[in-house]
């Protein structure tokens, strides 16, 4: 129905406008000029090739995280533990790199092994949350939260303890890896085409997995009505576990990217909030996998743009976080309002 479509789009636009208004208000409250702030953010995104490639580089882990949570959302799960899964992926990658860095293997191979290790690390952490839920009855929100804390503590322990820099163990991170263990950046910018390819590939695979496979259909059934899915013959607890494993694996890859392409070492905040941000993106796109790539790109751009604020205006870069959050909030609320006003169900 044409009218319904226009109405939907109209409401979504309204949500965007409201979000911008809110952010402008916040800027005014902080005593800043909104126009100046917005222009700084835009400049931070577009003004040079370096900026654009930075955005693309930030896009990769976010895209991986978003793709991962789309799988768990399809299974009806709130995988808040994704932050910990990214961290464990990073930890495993760092471990693999440390193990092999002095060996005679070519750097490229070591990096590949590092990625596989990261995938495994994230998957294990995801499986832990899954086990807590399936066998322990612990809601995945709280199980995930607990595991997030454990992951962070574990990473901290490694950074300060056994993997600490010789002499001055510092919380700023482990020793930087030699450049042969850096994900190659042939174009002389901070973006690795390998990472970019990985992110896009993951998004495409998840799209097809959810839409076009029997696995995705069964996962959806489990997410919408676990009881009925079980009676229909779907092995429900296995599918829940698969969802945790797959999302953990993708999160682990995000962690691997963070280590090999961004920080080149393990730092305490290696996950950089990409897990939670992935959840936000998934909510914003209403769990439609086809929108994951563009919206994740938009949010990555906001992250990068926000970095200008402390430099140019002495403000905290959290403004991007404000805009990212308020946008999802208004979209949720406006959508709710539209449904209540225009879709009276019997």
């Amino acid at each position: 129905m044409k009218k319904n479509q226009w109405l939907k789009i109209g409401f979504q636009l309204a949500a965007i406008v409201l979000a911008l208004l809110f952010t402008t208000l916040v800027l005014l409250m902080a005593g800043a000029s909104p126009l100046q702030a917005y222009s700084n953010v835009l400049q931070g995104i577009f003004s040079s090739t370096a900026d654009i490639t930075n955005v693309l580089a930030a896009w990769v882990p976010l895209l991986l995280a978003t793709a991962g949570v789309l799988i768990t959302f399809a299974a009806g799960l709130w995988n808040i533990g994704i932050e910990g899964q990214i961290v464990l992926g990073a930890v495993f990658t760092t471990g693999a790199l440390r193990l092999l860095q002095n060996s005679s293997l070519p750097g490229g191979w070591i990096i590949v092994i590092g990625f596989i290790a990261g995938l495994i690390g994230g998957a294990i952490w995801g499986a832990l949350a899954g086990v807590l839920k399936t066998f322990g009855g612990v809601n995945e929100i709280f199980g995930g939260l607990g595991l997030n804390f454990v992951a962070t503590a574990f990473a901290l322990y490694l950074i300060i303890g056994p993997w600490g820099r010789p002499g001055i163990a510092s919380t700023s991170g482990t020793l930087i890896f030699p450049t042969r263990l850096w994900l190659p950046t042939p174009l002389n910018v901070a973006l690795s085409p390998w990472a970019l390819g990985l992110g896009i590939l993951a998004a495409i695979l998840v799209y097809f997995l959810l839409r076009g496979t029997y696995f995705g259909l069964r996962l959806k059934a489990v997410g919408k009505n676990m009881r009925a899915a079980f009676l229909l013959g779907v092995p429900t607890w296995q599918y829940s576990m698969y969802a945790f494993l797959l999302c953990g694996a993708l999160a682990g890859l995000a962690g691997a990217v963070q280590v090999t392409a961004v920080y080149h070492r393990l730092i305490p905040t290696i996950s950089s909030g990409y897990g939670f941000l992935g959840l936000l993106v998934a909510m914003l796109i209403n769990y439609q996998a086809v929108w994951a790539a563009p919206i994740a790109l938009f949010y990555a751009a906001l992250n990068i743009g926000g970095i200008q604020l402390p430099i140019m205006m002495k403000m905290d870069s959290s403004l991007s976080g404000v805009l990212q959050g308020i946008l999802v909030l208004f979209v949720l609320m406006v959508e709710g309002a539209r449904q209540q006003l225009f879709e009276k169900k019997e």
């Binding site: 496979t213 029997y214 919408k224 009925a228």
Partner: protein, 503 residues
């Protein structure tokens, strides 16, 4: 209090649930409201008790027109309603349930209330312990508590919606005695039911509702045949019985014992042959649900064995049972049977457990079209299940079943359906029987049990009769058994064991 309902109308979308209802109920009367499922009885009572608002007409109490906008209003006017599943608070004590909702000061006077409960309970011969928890009570006891509470609140009108479902015969007698006492004291009582016998025994006058309309009224003494005619419009004749050709033994229960928080069933023995239909009768909550789920492997028995085609499957999960040819169809279509948000095609594809990676859209659509045609479902392959009507949803559930099956377990297969759909569903089921599938079905419809079963199991309060040949049963006999009367003393009978609830 005198009640007058004048030209009450209520619509639910296109459905005219209450169509021009006009009814007078003088104070001190026990007014019966009779009708089948979906006739509009519950709707009318919800209007009177403020739960929903009528779309047209008015209500007069003692001659004065009143507007009842919410249950709070109704309580203020003295109208109290006892719902079929009493709306109480299971995890809280009787005392707290009693107190909740009664106006008063900031602090609770627990001592006074405890005394009130004991006094009122004594008046009517109920034995209720104020300190016990509601989730440990039987349905009958929860009803008793509700009645006491409504009286304590000063109700002058008591509406009871299907109160005799799920209570024992002795509890029913006590209830009726209480109601008569209250009516003599001037209370107006409205007794809603689809059970002829109860209305005959208790009510001073009866009104019959069919498809939303008030089709007739009659004072006591009642002519049962005339009431049935008003309710159904015609005589119910049972179809000719086809003699059963016994096949191989398909399903067996040996000394089965199952339990949950409230009930413990024990020493159940049963043998089912191919093509047989076993009807499971009894009041809701007597143990049939537990029983049928144990037969499906959804619940693990605490003792005994379940054998399918002579394989011992005791303790295995439902999916193992499924692989061995057993299928379970739940009563709650939307909660357990169908997935809201998925289309018919997606359901069929899921049920078929198709192997492979990528969804074959054409194959799925063809499958759906074939099933839709053969089960006469009013919908398209792309229809979501929530857009189908109840009858079509049930057909869809049926269409999801595998073929061939050894045993089909059905929970209330035709509940809430119109007659046409019910007959159609059974015709498809009988086809299966001809192919050798055995059926075990739970139903609260006596006609259905008698019409389609070869043998019948009757449950009452955690006890089971041995399988009874349907040719030995009449409606009266079956009703008695369901009500707890006339149980045979035979060595095959399951032991009595209503557990003391863990407080």
């Amino acid at each position: 209090m005198n009640i007058e309902l004048r030209h009450i109308h209520k619509y639910f979308g296109k459905v005219h649930a209450n169509d021009d209802i006009v009814l007078n109920i003088p104070a001190g009367t026990i007014q019966g409201i009779l009708g089948e499922n979906g006739a509009g009885k519950s709707t009318l009572m919800k209007v009177l008790s403020g739960f929903i608002q009528a779309d047209g007409g008015e209500i007069l109490l003692d001659g004065k027109a009143v507007i009842i906008k919410s249950p709070a209003d109704a309580i203020r006017y003295g109208i109290g309603m006892l719902h079929q599943d009493p709306l109480d608070f299971p995890p809280m004590t009787l005392l707290d349930n009693f107190l909740l909702g009664r106006a008063g000061g900031l602090f609770l006077d627990r001592k006074a209330a405890t005394q009130n409960i004991r006094d009122l309970a004594g008046q009517f011969g109920f034995s209720l312990d104020p300190e016990s928890y509601v989730d440990s009570l039987t349905v009958g006891e929860r009803q008793q508590l509700e009645i006491l509470r409504l009286l304590w609140l000063g109700a002058r009108v008591l509406i009871l919606d299907e109160p005799t479902t799920g209570i024992s015969a002795s509890q029913k007698d006590k209830l009726f005695e209480t109601l008569r006492k209250l009516a003599k004291q001037g209370m107006t009582i409205i007794f809603v039911s689809h059970k002829l016998e109860d209305v005959e025994v208790l009510c001073h006058k009866v009104a019959v509702l069919t498809s939303g309309k008030l089709v007739g009224e009659a004072p006591a003494p009642f002519n049962a045949k005339k009431l049935v005619e008003m309710m159904f419009g015609k005589e119910i004749s049972l179809g000719a019985r086809r003699p059963l050709k016994p096949g191989a033994k398909v399903f067996e229960l040996r000394d089965l014992a199952v339990e949950d928080v409230r009930l413990h069933l024990a020493d159940i023995n049963l043998e089912v042959n191919a093509g047989e239909v076993i009807g499971v009768a009894g009041m809701e909550g007597s143990g049939q649900g537990l029983f049928i789920r144990a037969c499906a492997g959804l619940i693990r028995p605490v003792n005994g064995q379940v054998l399918v085609n002579n394989h011992d499957l005791t303790g295995y999960s439902y999916h193992v049972f499924k692989r061995n040819g057993v299928s379970f169809m739940p009563a709650s279509r939307m909660e357990e049977g169908l997935v809201i948000g998925l289309t018919l095609t997606e359901h069929f594809v899921l049920a078929e457990e198709i192997q492979g990676l990528f969804i074959d859209g054409d194959k799925g659509r063809k499958l759906a079209e074939e099933r839709i045609k053969s089960f006469n479902i009013r919908g398209t392959p792309m229809s979501t299940v929530e857009s189908l009507s109840g009858g079509n949803q049930q057909r869809a559930l049926l269409a999801l079943l595998r073929n061939p099956l050894s045993l089909l377990l059905l929970e209330h297969p035709t509940r809430g359906l119109d007659i046409e759909s019910a007959i159609y569903i059974w015709s498809k089921l009988k086809e299966r029987c001809k192919q050798g599938t055995s059926i075990l079905f739970i139903s609260s419809d006596l006609e259905e049990i008698l019409q389609y079963s070869d043998r019948v199991l009757v449950f009452f309060s955690g006890r089971v009769t041995p399988p009874l040949d349907v040719s030995t049963l009449t409606t009266e006999k079956l009703g008695e058994l369901i009500g707890g009367m006339g149980w045979p003393e035979s060595k095959n009978e399951a032991r009595v064991h209503e557990k003391k609830p863990v407080a």
